[in-house]
Symmetry: C2
Subunit: 287 residues, 2 copies
């Protein structure tokens, strides 16, 4: 394999970073994982690791956000205001552009990178219209529509979608901006605050799970109404509860009332298939 | 102008049809408008009108729905099950493909065609991320994201989005599938049924308008959360009430709570600019 065929990939997470070389098909040939520390240290380490392996013809980056992902905008490739100390207004792209002036660069949010990987290689293989919802400390979504990743004019904030309130829910919500947006009512910390127990410790038959699935089904219905995915993947820690995807799908079918054609026969709501590899495979596919 | 540079356009509405020749830039050179009757009569008339003007190199079509708009699917170019008598399962595309075998054909929903026209020539000129909500007998939306019209795996049904219920609203909703989806609570017939007076006859200071704007602001927030348009156009009969766009924008800014960057300085919620010409201009732009 000649050096100019190398593809580089970077998955920049809030706590861990993965740098890899691989193929345009998303196959990792060699990778290194390390803790995300300061911007200079983290990005330098990734650049140096890639330099030691040659001159990649292209580099794909999936990074945590909020992130400027619209080419031509001033903030393209930069982190915006983020609670992660020291990272606000940092250009993720610049050190790579400087070190690899001949490489084609592309950057996306981490959840969009994972969406692309699951759509090309994983739980939605071969589909061009896919959404990937993650539920953890926050709620986010990546969207592939007609084969294109959606950014919008900055980037969507799926977690801050307004959903109806579950009829039995008296909890205020944890979102500091909107209280009772989807994230405010259904992220991991919201479950813990509402029930006084961390999601991971709630038994499978606890009413928390029916309510959680109800909120996610409403989030999924909003995606159906606006971008009509052929399949919706739900991942992240909270989604690993027993039979969670079946619960969401059942409620979604009930509230959809037979109206939304893309639901088809199902399964429509599925777990991710690529696990920890989705982020870095997606970065390579972005390149 | 040589014959092979001709572009054809068709706007197929539920009640009226417009056929035109024009330019790829969406400029109509000559057009004819007539009532939509049976499929055979309507489509034959459009085909014949175009044939008399030469062989267009491309034809763009914007049609009422539900419509198959995903290339490669069996239903591409066909109306699906529609209440409009005689039109279910009719291929709109087939008579054009037969009469103009060398023309490039493209078909989209009417609201997507109008969205494209407003984004290229009208109220969102120059923007690549635009949504266009129409409120009349139903509620629909067209979405341009990153310069691409969104279909999803069939096509979105924005009107059937679930939104929170206005705290003062005790009305059941008119949607036969979902009762209290956005369309069920905020389309023209819902306003008339809730207040006992047609929307057009409600005075500007009637509380109906604050409630209507509240629902549309929640629909707009869902679009912001999922596709992050740089601007949202609201059109259709109901939107013509006095100061309606300002009302929606004010409520949207309140519920967005400073969180959504694309809102910028505004105006963010605007009326369409092209009026009756949007559909046919959009059809030409699709070609």
């Amino acid at each position: 394999m000649s050096q100019d065929k190398l593809i580089g990939g970077l998955e920049l997470g809030g706590t861990k970073t993965v740098v890899a070389i691989g193929t345009e098909a998303g196959v990792v040939l060699e990778e290194e994982r390390f803790a995300t520390t300061t911007p200079a240290e983290t990005l330098d380490r990734a650049v140096t690791w890639l330099e030691e392996r040659g001159q990649p013809s292209a580099i794909g980056i999936g990074a945590f956000g909020p992130l400027g992902v619209v080419r031509g905008q001033d903030q393209y490739g930069c982190l915006l205001s983020t609670p992660k100390e020291g990272w606000s207004d940092i250009s993720i792209l610049a050190p790579f552009a400087k070190a690899f002036p001949h490489a084609r660069l592309n950057i996306e949010t981490d959840v969009n990178a994972a969406t692309l990987a699951e759509a090309r290689l994983g739980a939605a293989k071969g589909l061009d219209d896919v959404a990937y919802i993650t539920i953890g400390t926050g709620i986010g979504a990546g969207i592939l529509a007609g084969g294109h990743l959606i950014h919008g004019s900055l980037h969507p904030e799926f977690g801050h979608l307004k959903v109806p309130r579950h009829p039995d829910d008296r909890f205020d919500g944890v979102c500091q901006f909107h209280h009772d947006c989807l994230e405010g009512l259904a992220c991991g910390p919201a479950i813990a605050a509402r029930w006084g127990t961390a999601a991971v410790d709630l038994p499978a038959d606890h009413p928390a799970w029916e309510m959680e699935a109800w909120y996610l089904a409403h989030g999924a219905l909003s995606l159906l109404s606006i971008v009509a995915p052929a399949r919706i993947i739900i991942g992240g820690g909270v989604s690993q509860a027993e039979s969670f995807h079946e619960k969401v799908e059942n409620i979604l079918r009930e509230i959809a009332a037979g109206y939304f054609h893309p639901l088809g026969e199902g399964p429509y709501i599925v777990p991710p298939a690529l696990g920890q590899q989705a982020g870095i495979a997606g970065a390579l596919l972005l390149a």
